[in-house]
């Protein structure tokens, strides 16, 4: 379990973050560029000392600015997966994964055997003897994950692990990552600026802006009630789990939606719908939308220039409308409304 209060001043950034990550929990730190995400990870890893605050992992003090306690990175048992993987170019794939084990004192044969096991877990046992430069981006990222996990860290830090990958590889690596993150014990902290990654991989989100935590909560909580326009734009999307059956995605809650992008997908998928793409109507709308359903207003959240309407029912989503739109609808919690969304406005992610 990680209990951290990280205070760092570097350049124009004034980072001051308090957070806890429980064993087995995956927390995603989301924020715009320059919010201090990477600085936070570097401080937790011990690659940079904190200026004030305290970092405690499993009850062991790693860094305490007041007590001048500082545990060097190599003694922290904190794993770090970098965005651009940073596999050692002069070592083979197997030697990369065995590096931490060897540094920890394992003999050569044992380290290689364990490393090979980890490579097989990420599906790259057959690439053990190759140099990292012969791997694809997705393969390299999986090796980097295996390398970090091989030393069985008590805290795993992932800095934008999917950002450098192309869209097709992303889905695949994200799926693997999800599985491996579920397998390991300890606290896991993921930095990303992609809400889909955050929502699909993390149990809890921490939104960071200009060095400060602006919101904490589960994905649905944050999506439903974003506390700033940045959060609203970034995280305020509806994520629905379902299964592709013929041309329709059957949702876990019982509803069904038609998504253009689901055409090429098989099996379980996630659908992402932007609240602004959802239109609300008093009566059943006429015309083109293929996804139309009746819903009950659960609550209405008014914030300055936008209104978020949470709908309950078989398709539980949040719709965003303008205050003028709300006045026109004249809706209140408990009312029944019609909701619609175009099939082209639904993004699809394989899980």
């Amino acid at each position: 379990m990680l209990e951290a209060h990280v205070g760092v001043r570097v350049g124009s950034l004034d980072l001051d973050v308090e957070m806890t990550v429980g064993d087995g929990e995956v927390v995603a730190v989301l924020g715009p560029n320059g919010a201090g995400k990477t600085t936070l990870l570097r401080a937790l890893a011990g690659l940079r000392a904190i200026d004030h605050g305290r970092v405690v992992l499993d009850g062991r003090v790693l860094d305490d600015a007041a007590a001048a306690t500082f545990v060097v990175p190599e003694r922290r048992k904190v794993g770090y997966v970098f965005q651009d993987h940073l596999l050692f170019p002069h070592l083979t794939v197997l030697e990369n994964v065995a590096f931490g084990l060897r540094a920890g004192g394992a003999d050569r044969a044992a380290a290689r055997a364990t490393a090979l096991g980890w490579l097989q877990r990420v599906g790259l046992g057959d690439r053990a003897g190759e140099r990292p430069r012969h791997l694809s981006g997705g393969q390299a990222q999986r090796v980097a994950l295996a390398r970090a996990l091989a030393v069985e860290p008590r805290l795993l830090l992932l800095d934008e692990p999917l950002a450098a990958l192309d869209a097709a590889t992303r889905a695949e690596v994200r799926r693997d990552l999800r599985r491996h993150l579920a397998d390991v014990t300890g606290a896991r902290l993921l930095v990303t600026h992609d809400p889909v990654d955050a929502l699909l991989l993390a149990d809890r989100l921490v939104i960071l802006e200009e060095g400060r935590v602006v919101q904490v909560g589960t994905g649905p909580e944050v999506s439903a009630r974003p506390r700033s326009s940045y959060v609203a734009d970034l995280v305020g999307l509806n994520l629905l789990a379902g299964t592709v059956v013929d041309d329709v995605v059957r949702l876990r809650g019982g509803g069904a939606l038609v998504a253009s992008a689901a055409a090429g997908c098989r099996g379980d998928v996630h659908l992402a719908v932007r609240p602004r793409s959802i239109a609300l109507h008093r009566a059943r709308p006429e015309g083109s939308p293929r996804n139309v359903w009746e819903a009950v207003v659960a609550d209405i959240d008014v914030e300055a220039d936008r209104v978020r309407v949470r709908l309950a029912g078989a398709v539980p989503v949040v719709a965003e409308i303008t205050p003028a739109g709300l006045a026109e609808l004249g809706a209140a919690p408990g009312d029944r409304l019609w909701a619609s969304v175009k099939a082209v406005d639904i993004e699809t992610y394989e899980t």
Binding site: P73, E74, K77, Y80, L86, F88, L91, F99
Partner: protein, 266 residues
């Protein structure tokens, strides 16, 4: 019109100065070849004084390179990575032998390590070791003059290495020495090798500091450049022939190393 796609096309303006540079280096070498007394060359090269000088040159230049790598790589690391007051002064001091006339360097070595030198006198009193007029003295003089070439090359490489590789190694549990040995050094290995080659070449041609500090005795301190210089006193043909041997041996080694260790593309 077809272009050779995939080939590097140089800006034309670069070609004349490049050709001039080649001429500047190659012309004197060609003149040396033209003046070489080819007849009797074999006989000359068979003389023990030549064999001794060549052997001594190769041995001392190689030892000086080994010493330079062992001492110079850690020094380059300190200069590249450790921030301390006076670092730029230290860097200037360390590279001074590159600009110092070698005979002055040799003299400075005598003042420091000679029989009456600052360190040389207590060293001889304590151990009986006398560096001037010894093969070790030749290695020392070579190292003094040639090590800066390695330090400069490796320091530049260390500065350009992505330090996050070292961060990654640290988070994997690698202690500082492990990271240095298993990550930092391998990452700059091509530059260490390039620096070592420069260092070796400089040591092989070393004359001034060697003759001033270590003297000149066949088989013990007489390297090829000294043999060439003395041959010039009495027999110019012999001097030219000896220079040619030095040129040929270094050419073989340098070309061989480059092809073996420094692939043109990487």
């Amino acid at each position: 019109m077809r272009r050779d796609r995939g080939r590097v096309r140089a800006p034309l303006a670069l070609l004349p100065p490049a050709a001039l540079a080649v001429g500047l280096v190659a012309l004197p070498l060609a003149a040396l070849l033209q003046r070489t007394p080819w007849t009797g060359l074999g006989e000359l090269l068979g003389e023990p004084v030549v064999a001794d000088a060549l052997r001594l040159s190769l041995v001392t230049a190689s030892l000086a390179t080994v010493v330079s790598v062992l001492l110079g790589v850690p020094l380059a690391w300190v200069l590249a990575r450790v921030e301390f007051p006076g670092r730029s002064v230290l860097r200037a001091v360390v590279t001074l032998p590159m600009v110092l006339p070698p005979v002055v360097g040799g003299a400075a070595l005598l003042f420091a390590l000679g029989r009456r030198g600052l360190v040389g006198r207590p060293l001889e009193d304590a151990t009986g070791i006398l560096l001037p007029f010894s093969t070790a003295g030749v290695v020392l003089a070579n190292t003094f003059v040639a090590m800066p070439f390695l330090v400069i090359t490796v320091e530049a490489a260390l500065r350009s290495v992505d330090r996050r590789y070292e961060d990654a190694a640290a988070t994997l549990g690698g202690g500082r020495l492990t990271v240095f040995r298993r990550v930092t050094v391998p990452l700059v290995a091509p530059s260490v090798l390039a620096g070592a080659v420069l260092c070796w070449a400089r040591a092989l041609g070393e004359f001034g500091a060697t003759v001033t500090f270590a003297g000149n005795l066949q088989g013990r301190t007489q390297t090829m450049p000294l043999a060439v210089f003395l041959a010039l006193e009495s027999d110019r043909d012999a001097a030219i022939a000896l220079s040619l041997v030095l040129v040929a041996v270094s050419l073989v080694v340098l070309v061989g190393l480059r092809d073996r260790w420094l692939p043109a593309t990487s």
